[in-house]
C-alpha cells in the first residue's frame, strides 16, 4: 500500500518531467538525423510555459471541460498503472481519456479537427485489439491482471513468453506516440495536410494541457514496455529503463524513415500484425500453459 502511494506520487511529480525531457531528446535526435542542430533539450518546457501564459482563445465553451477530462483520465490511467492496479481497467481508463480528447475535437465543428477526430477514432480502432491482447498475454503468463502481481510473478521476464505480443505492442506504440508513418490524426511535423488535425482548434493553455497529457501518457506507455522486462530481481529495473529508452529510440528512427500512410493501410497492417504476432503468440501461450 505504502509503495503504491509513493509510486503514484512519483508518477504525478516526475511523470511530466520525464515526458518533457523525452520530448526534448526526441527533438534533438530527430534534428541530428536530419542534419540540423536542433533546439535545447529543455525547449518543450519553455514551449509549455509560454503556452500557459497565452490568452485563452476557444471556439466554444465545452472544449476546456473535455480537454480537462482528457488530462484527468490520462493521469488516472498512469496513476492506476503505477499503483499496481488492474491492467484491463488501466486500458479502459486510457480509452475513456482518448474519447474525451476526440470529443473536444468533434465539439469544435471545424473541418480540420473533425477530420482529425475521425482519423483518431480510426487509430483507436486499429490499436485497441493489440492493447487488450497485451493485458490478456500478461494474464496468461502470470495468472493475474494486476500490475503489482505481474511484477512479482517470477524471475523470468514476461517478454520471454510473449515476444510476439511485445513486437505487436511496439507496432501500436508508433500510433500512440503519434509518430510517422501512423501520425494520421495530428502530428508534430510541419507537413500536415489538415493543419494540426485533432488539435487545430485548441490553443493557449488548453493546448498546453494536451501537451502535458501526452507527456504523462508517454511515460505510462513506456511503463507498459518496462512491464515486459521487469522481474522480482532489483537490477531488472535498470534493464527495463534501458529497454524503454531503446524502444523510444526505435520509434524516433521509424518516425524519420517512413512517410505517412493512408488510414486503410494503417488499419490493415495493424490488425494483421495483431493477428500474426499477437494472436499466434497467445495461441502458443494457451497451448503450453
Amino acid at each position: 500500500m505504502k509503495v503504491s502511494v509513493i509510486s503514484v506520487l512519483l508518477y504525478l511529480v516526475l511523470g511530466p518531467v520525464a515526458g518533457g525531457l523525452l520530448a526534448g531528446i526526441d527533438r534533438k535526435i530527430t534534428a541530428r538525423m536530419q542534419g540540423r542542430r536542433g533546439p535545447s533539450v529543455l525547449q518543450p518546457f519553455y514551449d509549455l510555459f509560454k503556452l500557459f501564459h497565452k490568452q485563452v482563445v476557444v471556439v466554444n465553451d465545452v472544449q476546456d471541460f473535455l480537454v480537462w477530462g482528457f488530462l484527468v483520465f490520462i493521469v488516472f490511467t498512469g496513476g492506476l498503472f503505477f499503483a499496481g492496479g488492474d491492467l484491463l481497467l488501466v486500458f479502459f481508463a486510457l480509452t475513456l481519456a482518448g474519447i474525451f480528447f476526440v470529443m473536444s475535437a468533434c465539439s469544435a465543428n471545424s473541418p480540420y479537427s473533425s477530420m482529425g477526430a475521425q482519423r483518431e477514432l480510426m487509430q483507436m480502432m486499429a490499436y485497441e485489439p493489440m492493447v487488450l491482447l497485451v493485458a490478456i498475454g500478461f494474464y496468461d503468463v502470470t495468472g493475474s491482471f494486476s500490475v503489482s502481481d505481474i511484477i512479482h510473478a517470477g524471475s523470468v521476464p514476461a517478454i520471454a513468453y510473449m515476444p510476439g505480443i511485445f513486437i505487436g505492442f511496439l507496432w501500436i506504440l508508433v500510433i500512440k506516440f503519434r509518430k510517422s508513418p501512423f501520425d494520421l490524426s495530428t502530428t508534430h511535423h510541419a507537413h500536415q495536410e489538415m493543419v494540426k488535425g485533432l488539435t487545430t482548434e485548441l490553443s493557449g493553455n488548453i493546448l498546453a494541457l494536451v501537451e502535458l497529457s501526452h507527456w504523462y501518457e508517454n511515460v505510462f506507455l513506456l511503463g507498459v514496455v518496462g512491464l515486459f522486462v521487469v522481474t522480482n530481481a532489483w537490477w531488472s529495473g535498470i534493464i527495463a529503463v534501458a529497454v524503454c529508452l531503446l524502444s523510444y529510440f526505435s520509434e524516433i528512427l521509424t518516425d524519420n524513415i517512413f512517410p505517412r500512410v493512408k488510414w486503410d493501410f494503417m488499419l490493415k497492417s495493424t490488425w494483421t500484425v495483431t493477428m500474426v504476432a499477437g494472436v499466434v503468440n497467445l495461441l502458443i501461450l494457451t497451448m503450453i500453459r
Binding site: D61, V62, F92, I99, P111, M124
Partner: protein, 637 residues
C-alpha cells in the same frame, strides 16, 4: 404465488380491455398508466418478498386443467398462423406451425403423466421480472405519447392503436409467463406467444415492407420453436423430464442429454437474433419505435438469452457450448463491424443489439460462473440502455423528422435535453466505467480462463469496432455549431417521464451494481452451479470503477470552478481563412458562399452490408449446421 398469478394474468386481462377501448383519449391513457403502475407495484412486491425470504420456490405440481388450457391455446395460435399464412400466401409458416403444434399435442396427449412443478421463482426470475416489469412498462408509458405523434406524422397508416397497446401488454404477460415457468411445455407456450406477438407488432403498418419483415420474423422464430418442440418431445419420451431446471442439472456431463440441449440452444439463438437469424430483428425496425424498444430491450430477444443462461451449466465444455460460443462471438464481431457502415440511428441500434446479444450468448455458452455472471449483468445493463437509446432516437425523430445520425449533428445545442439523455445512453452502452464495460471485463477474463482463443479474438476486435461506431455517434451529438437555434421540444410528458426515469435507472444501476451483483447475481449462480461461487470482481476494482464514475460526475463542476472568472475569447473555427461570418459557411474558389457539411466516416467499401453480410450469413449458417450435426451425431452414435 398469488402475485405470480397476477403478474402473468393481469397483462393479458389489461390487453383484453385495451383491445376494446377503440376511443382515443384520456380514459385509455389513464388505464394504461394505471395498469403499468399495478404491474410495477406487483413486480416490486414480488422482488422484495423473494429477496427477503431468500428462498427459491416451486409451485403447481398438479396442473392438468391448466395443461389442457395451454394445449387449446397452442391450437388457437396455430389457427392464427395458418390464417395469416393463407391471407398473405406464405404457406411455409403454416407448415412450420402445424409441425410443431402437432408434435407438442402428440407428446401431451400420448405421454405418461409426469409429475413436476410448473412455476418456479429464483433470483434470475427476480432479475428478469425487474427488467420486464420496469423497463417494459416504461416503454408502454412512452408509447402513449409517441403513438399520438406517430399517427399525426404518418397519416398514411391506419390508426390501430387499440390493437397496438393490447399487443404490448400481451407481450409483457407472455414474458412474465416465460420467466416464471419451469415446465418446458409452458415455456414453449409463452415462447410461441412472443413469436406471434412480435409478428403482429412488426406488421403493424401493413405496408408491403412491414408484412415482408413480419413474416421473416415469424418463420425464423417458428423454426426456433420447432427446435424447441423437438427438444420437448425428446425430453419427455426418451429422458422423462419435463422441467427445464431438472433437465439442465441432469445434463451436466451426460452425452445423451446433448440433443435437447443443443436444440434448445438453437431455439435461443433464433430468438436472440444471432447470425444467421439476425435478419428478423433488423427488419423489425419498420415498426413504430416502442415496438423496436420492446423487442430489443426488455422482451423478445431477452427471452432467447434467458433460455441460454438457464442452459449454461449444460453447455460448459461440450460441443453444444462450442456452437453457442462460436455463433455468439462471431455475431458480436461481425455485427459491430456492420454497425460502422450504418447512418440510420435505429439500424445502428439494431446491429448493436445483435452484437451485444452475441456477447451474452457467448458468455452463456462458455458456461463458467464468471462468464454467466458477465452475461446476466450485460443483460440488465443492455436492457436499460438500449431501451433508453431507442426511445430517445424516437423522440428526436418526432422532433426533427429524421433519425439519421448525420442529422443529429449539433443536437446538444438544438435539443439539449434529448442530447443529454442520449449521451447517458451511449455512455452506458460502451464507456468505462459504466455497466457494460464492467461486464465486458469479466467476460474477457472468463474467455481467457476457458482457453478459447477464438472467442478472445472476436472480443478484442469486436470491442475495437464497437468503440468506433459509438464514439462517432457521440461526436455528432456534441458538435457545437455557432448561431444554432434551439428547436422547440415537443416531447410529450409521458415520453419525458419514461426517458428521465430510465436515465436515472441507468445511473443508479451503474452505482449500485456491486449490490446487485452480491444480492442477486451471485446467489443465482450459486444455486445454478450448486456450489459456493467466489466474488467475480474484487472490491478494489469495484472501488476504482466507482471512483471513475464519481470523477466523471464531478469533472464538469470542477472545471467550471477552475476556469471561473477567467476571460475566454470565443472565435470562429479555422477554415483556412475563408470563413464567411461563422462556422457554417465558407467562400469557395468561385468567390461564392458555400455551406459546410461535416460527415462521419462510414467506409461502405470495407464494412458495408454488401461486402460483409452475405459471407457472414453463409459462415454462421455453416457453423450452426456443422456443429449441430456433430453434436447430435455424437450423441446418437
Amino acid at each position: 404465488m398469488e402475485v405470480i398469478a397476477f403478474l402473468i394474468c393481469f397483462p393479458f386481462a389489461a390487453a383484453l380491455v385495451l383491445s376494446m377501448m377503440k376511443q382515443h383519449g384520456k380514459p385509455r391513457k389513464y388505464f394504461i398508466f394505471a395498469s403499468c403502475i399495478a404491474i410495477v407495484a406487483a413486480v416490486l412486491y414480488f422482488s422484495a418478498g423473494a429477496l427477503i425470504s431468500g428462498k427459491n420456490t416451486a409451485y403447481l405440481t398438479d396442473a392438468r386443467a391448466l395443461d389442457t388450457g395451454i394445449l387449446v391455446g397452442e391450437f388457437a395460435m396455430m389457427a392464427l398462423v395458418i390464417y395469416f399464412g393463407f391471407k398473405f400466401k406464405k404457406h411455409y409458416v403454416s407448415l412450420l406451425s402445424i409441425a410443431q403444434t402437432a408434435l407438442i399435442a402428440w407428446v401431451d396427449l400420448s405421454g405418461p403423466e409426469t409429475e413436476g412443478s410448473h412455476i418456479v421463482a429464483d433470483k434470475l426470475t427476480v432479475i428478469m421480472c425487474l427488467i420486464i416489469g420496469v423497463v417494459g412498462t416504461l416503454i408502454c408509458v412512452y408509447a402513449v405519447g409517441y403513438m399520438k405523434d406517430y399517427h399525426a406524422h404518418h397519416t398514411e397508416f391506419r390508426d390501430r392503436r387499440a390493437f397496438f397497446f393490447a399487443m404490448l401488454f400481451v407481450f409483457l404477460g407472455a414474458m412474465f409467463g416465460l420467466v416464471f415457468s419451469s415446465s418446458l411445455t409452458w415455456i414453449y407456450f409463452f415462447w410461441e406467444i412472443t413469436s406471434l406477438c412480435s409478428f403482429l407488432l412488426i406488421g403493424y403498418n401493413r405496408t408491403e415492407q412491414a408484412i415482408r419483415n413480419s413474416f421473416q420474423a415469424l418463420w425464423m422464430n417458428l423454426l426456433g420453436g420447432l427446435g424447441f418442440a423437438v427438444a420437448i418431445a425428446y425430453c419427455e419420451k426418451q429422458l422423462h423430464v419435463t422441467e427445464l431446471e431438472k433437465m439442465v442439472t441432469a445434463a451436466v456431463g451426460k452425452p445423451e442429454f446433448l440433443i435437447p440441449v443443443v436444440l434448445l440452444a438453437f431455439a435461443g439463438l433464433t430468438k436472440s437474433a444471432q447470425m444467421p437469424f439476425s435478419g428478423w430483428l433488423l427488419g423489425a425496425m419498420v415498426a413504430p419505435t416502442p415496438t423496436s424498444a420492446l423487442l430489443h430491450s426488455a422482451t423478445m430477444v431477452k427471452a432467447g438469452v434467458y433460455l441460454l443462461v438457464r442452459l449454461a451449466p449444460a453447455l460448459a465444455g461440450n460441443m453444444a457450448g462450442t456452437m453457442v460460443t462460436t455463433v455468439g462471438g462471431f455475431t458480436f464481431f461481425v455485427t459491430s463491424l456492420l454497425a460502422i457502415s450504418q447512418s440510420d440511428g435505429k439500424k445502428v441500434l439494431a446491429y448493436s443489439t445483435i452484437s451485444n446479444l452475441g456477447l451474452i450468448t457467448a458468455c452463456a455458452g462458455v458456461g463458467r460462473h464468471e462468464a454467466v455472471w458477465a452475461g446476466v449483468l450485460l443483460m440488465m445493463f443492455h436492457a436499460v440502455s438500449k431501451s433508453l437509446m431507442f426511445l430517445s432516437v424516437g423522440a428526436v425523430e418526432n422532433n426533427t423528422g429524421s433519425r439519421n445520425i448525420e442529422d443529429m449533428h449539433g443536437l446538444v445545442v438544438r435539443l439539449p435535453e434529448l442530447a443529454f439523455v442520449m449521451i447517458i445512453g451511449i455512455a452506458g452502452m460502451f464507456l468505462a466505467p459504466f455497466g457494460m464495460l464492467i461486464s465486458k471485463w469479466a467476460a474477457l477474463k472468463a474467455f481467457v480462463d476457458s482457453k478459447s482463443a477464438l472467442l478472445v479474438v472476436f472480443l478484442v476486435f469486436g470491442s475495437a469496432s464497437t468503440l468506433f461506431y459509438w464514439t462517432k455517434w457521440l461526436g455528432k451529438l456534441v458538435a457545437m455549431i455557432h448561431n444554432s437555434e434551439r428547436l422547440p421540444n415537443t416531447t410529450k410528458g409521458s415520453e419525458w417521464f419514461s426517458l428521465v426515469s430510465q436515465s436515472f435507472i441507468m445511473v443508479a444501476l451503474c452505482i449500485s451494481f456491486p449490490i446487485v451483483s452480491s444480492g442477486l447475481v451471485e446467489p443465482f449462480l450459486s444455486d445454478m452451479f450448486h456450489d459456493k461461487v467466489p466474488a467475480v470482481i474484487s472490491s478494489g476494482n469495484t472501488h476504482i470503477m466507482l471512483m471513475m464514475l464519481c470523477m466523471i460526475m464531478i469533472l464538469p463542476l470542477a472545471v467550471r470552478f477552475l476556469t471561473f472568472g477567467k476571460k475566454k475569447k470565443v472565435v470562429m473555427s479555422y477554415m483556412g481563412g475563408v470563413n464567411s461570418g461563422d462556422d457554417r459557411t465558407f467562400v469557395n474558389s468561385f468567390g461564392q458562399k458555400e455551406d459546410m457539411y461535416l460527415a462521419n466516416w462510414y467506409m461502405e467499401d470495407y464494412f458495408g452490408e454488401k461486402k460483409l453480410l452475405k459471407p457472414s450469413l453463409v459462415l454462421s449458417s455453416a457453423a450452426i449446421v456443422v456443429l449441430m450435426i456433430i453434436v447430435i451425431g455424437g450423441a446418437v452414435s
